[in-house]
């Protein structure tokens, strides 16, 4: 089988790994923003989630407890965001910025105070992490040309969170377009007043949405520190929260496109890693800085509307005020 094919397989394999946190965070943003609450605090919530997961997994030795801790802490931050932007109708972007800065500071301060390792948590042993699981027949499929590697090298052999992330996409679609909750969620992001006069509490709906966002960010964080890596390290989210946000916008706030956007950015990242230092014909070696900025540049180009007009939810970012 051609070397290119194996390279492709390994790239796609990496793509899945790298897209997963983006996907969790992207979907988190989707729930929040379709309900009309802008969420640039994804980064921060991932970060605290990652910290909690690693810390608890280390202390208890049980990764699932780590996951739960991540979710709880991340949800607490969501509630803070909700408190500011729903209850007190504060500026949602500002609240998001605050959450990001707080998260980066607090994880360090507490990490130092508790573990005395410069803000990192002690590294986890494999049974304190989410490790790869083989899909059925992964072995036997190996030999089948093309489909074989595709299945056993690319699809199989990821940890449970990866599969969960991808399973969440159709689920989210179903929730949005096939359930009462979804109907109301979409409505409150478009015209909260209509929802209010229909006898539904705008605040409750929006809180539900940000809480879901919190849960998903918890997953994203736990993935970073207990699945993809084996410990928490300062600012380990490294801008993925913002990348997810970009993906969400790129996807025009719709479930399936979010999946594709995240996969695209993940793919770019995976390719970047492999393109590094490789001297391309005519071009020569591309500087690492250029490659690593590629996703951002692309996002900007996309945002520039060269690929269609973006249509955010009408009430996105606008606090619901009943009485002037």
């Amino acid at each position: 089988m051609s070397e290119w094919f194996t390279l492709l397989i390994s790239t796609l394999d990496a793509t899945l790994r790298v897209s997963t946190p983006l996907l969790f965070a992207g979907l988190a943003g989707l729930y929040s923003e379709r309900a009309g609450v802008v969420d640039i605090g994804l980064e921060g919530k991932m970060l605290v989630g990652a910290f909690a997961a690693a810390a608890i997994a280390h202390l208890t030795g049980v990764v699932w407890l780590g996951l739960i801790a991540a979710i709880i802490v991340s949800v607490l931050f969501s509630l803070l965001h909700g408190f500011a932007s729903i209850t007190h109708r504060g500026n949602q972007v500002v609240s998001g910025v605050a959450i990001n800065i707080l998260a980066s500071g607090l994880t360090m301060v507490l990490g130092l105070a508790w573990f005395h390792q410069g803000g990192s948590t002690p590294s986890l042993t494999n049974n304190e992490r989410f490790t790869a699981i083989q899909l059925p027949f992964a072995e036997s499929m190996q030999t089948v040309p093309y489909i074989g590697p595709l299945y056993s090298d690319m699809l199989s052999g990821h940890n449970i969170l990866v599969y969960l992330a991808f399973a969440l996409v159709p689920l989210t679609w179903w929730v949005f377009y096939r359930t009462r909750f979804g109907l109301r969620l979409r409505a409150v992001g478009e015209n909260p007043k209509a929802v209010d006069t229909a006898g539904i509490s705008v605040a409750t709906l929006r809180y539900q949405a940000v809480i879901i966002a919190g849960v998903l960010c918890g997953f994203a964080g736990a993935y970073l520190s207990t699945a993809q890596n084996a410990q928490f390290i300062r600012d380990m989210t490294a801008g993925q929260g913002f990348m997810a946000l970009a993906a969400l916008i790129f996807a025009n706030w719709r479930p399936w496109p979010v999946l594709f956007a995240c996969l695209l950015f993940g793919f770019l990242d995976a390719v970047a890693v492999r393109l590094q230092g490789v001297s391309l014909p005519h071009i020569g070696t591309v500087p690492v800085q250029l490659i690593e900025s590629l996703p951002y540049i692309l996002t900007v180009i996309l945002l520039a509307g060269f690929l269609g007009k973006s249509r955010p939810p009408k009430a996105d970012g606008i606090p619901y005020v009943k009485e002037r």
């Binding site: 640039i40 803070l80 408190f83 500011a84 932007s85 007190h88 109708r89 504060g90 500026n91 949602q92 972007v93 500002v94 609240s95 910025v97 605050a98 959450i99 990001n100 800065i101 707080l102 998260a103 980066s104 500071g105 607090l106 360090m108 301060v109 507490l110 130092l112 105070a113 803000g119 801008g239 913002f242 946000l245 970009a246 916008i249 500087p287 800085q289 250029l290 690593e292 900025s293 951002y296 540049i297 996002t299 900007v300 945002l303 520039a304 509307g305 007009k309 973006s310 955010p312």
Partner: protein, 369 residues
């Protein structure tokens, strides 16, 4: 007292004060959580920030940066824009300074070189803000996101240039050669020295005065000129602006260019005033700090100066703190920053209802026209 005035004072004084207090109360809790006596910490902090000349020098030197970025955020805010890109704009402003000084410090006299470098800082900062501004104005892409992206791009660009182009060969760290004396801004101690007043050497330099001047300039611009009038109109009510024959697109560009320019001036204080070379990450944290400063200062120059002073004190005092208290690290200052943004920004009107009720006891209803 007329209700309107009562309202103004509530917004101008009472609310912000309460917000800051809340932020500090929570900070105290964090201190306790990591087993530090808040009182001692506060004492050390204040002493470190204002206790002795060198400390004051550092405090005001940090203040200078925060004034620049704070003004940058504020002016964009008045045009209804949220410029999160101060970080990157300051960085690229530094590039401007670097290029000019490295090119000319051989033969240009200070009188020409320094103004040129300052201009370059502003222009490059503005240029870096121009692209997101253009995309917002003409392509309708969300400036918050684009400016975030441009922060990432700026740092990649700078590293590339410093590592592969501008960096001094054989030099360990990716930074340029030192600038020539002719580019140095007079420090506070030198300036006071001219008048025979002794002052401990510190990074504090003339750009602090420049920053104060910028505050005044911004105030005049926003509230006393027709351009400021048009800018605030667009910020308050874009439709009214269009009706008035003001082109919001142009205003968005203008506001962001000025904003970026101001952010770029951080490089003047940092590079011409202190580092005397172009290096990585001299802008670290000031862009986002500026947001806190602007919010705390209610986007008004006077408020911004005060807020910047507070942050300068936090930075300097914070450093002193970590000197004497091992388990207090710089990150605590970051936490405080976050709390301030949270309480005087996102939760700014948390206490408004209470205040309202309090005021309404004293202020009678306004009779309808």
């Amino acid at each position: 007292m007329k209700p309107a005035t009562a309202q103004r004072w509530a917004n101008l004084l009472i609310l912000p004060t309460l917000n800051i207090l809340t932020a500090f109360v929570v900070t105290t809790l964090v201190f306790l959580a990591i087993g530090v006596n808040p009182i001692d910490a506060a004492k050390l902090l204040v002493k470190g920030a204002f206790g002795y000349q060198n400390g004051i020098g550092y405090t005001l030197y940090y203040t200078t940066n925060f004034i620049f970025t704070g003004l940058a955020v504020a002016i964009a805010f008045h045009a209804g824009l949220f410029n999160i890109g101060g970080e990157g704009q300051a960085y690229i402003g530094g590039l401007g300074v670097g290029l000019v000084v490295l090119a000319f410090d051989g033969w240009l006299p200070a009188i020409i070189l320094i103004p040129l470098a300052i201009l370059a800082a502003a222009l490059m900062g503005a240029a870096w803000a121009a692209i997101p501004a253009y995309l917002q104005a003409y392509r309708g892409s969300h400036i918050v996101i684009t400016t975030i992206m441009f922060n990432f791009l700026a740092s990649s660009l700078m590293v590339y240039l410093l590592v592969n182009v501008l960096g001094e060969k054989g030099q360990m760290s990716p930074e340029t050669r030192s600038f020539a004396e002719s580019s140095f801004l007079p420090t506070w101690s030198e300036m006071l020295g001219w008048f025979g007043i002794p002052f401990a050497s510190s990074p504090l330099n003339i750009s602090f005065l420049f920053a104060l001047f910028c505050c005044f300039a911004v105030w005049v611009f926003l509230w006393k000129t027709r351009w400021g009038y048009e800018l605030r109109t667009v910020g308050a009510n874009p439709d009214a602006a269009i009706y008035a024959g003001i082109n919001p697109k142009h205003i968005v560009m203008m506001a962001m260019l000025i904003s970026g320019g101001l952010a770029g001036l951080v490089a003047v204080n940092e590079l011409l005033g202190v580092q005397h070379r172009l290096l990585l990450g001299f802008n670290a944290g000031y862009g986002f700090g500026g947001i806190a400063v602007a919010l705390m200062g209610r986007n008004h120059p006077v408020g911004i100066v005060l807020a910047a002073l507070l942050f300068g004190a936090l930075y300097q005092g914070g450093a002193e703190l970590s000197f004497d208290m091992p388990n207090v690290t710089r990150d605590l200052v970051v936490v405080i920053q976050g709390l301030i943004i949270l309480f005087s920004g996102a939760l700014e009107s948390m206490y408004r209802p209470q205040i309202q009720r309090f005021l309404s006891r004293f202020v009678k209803d306004e009779v309808s026209a």
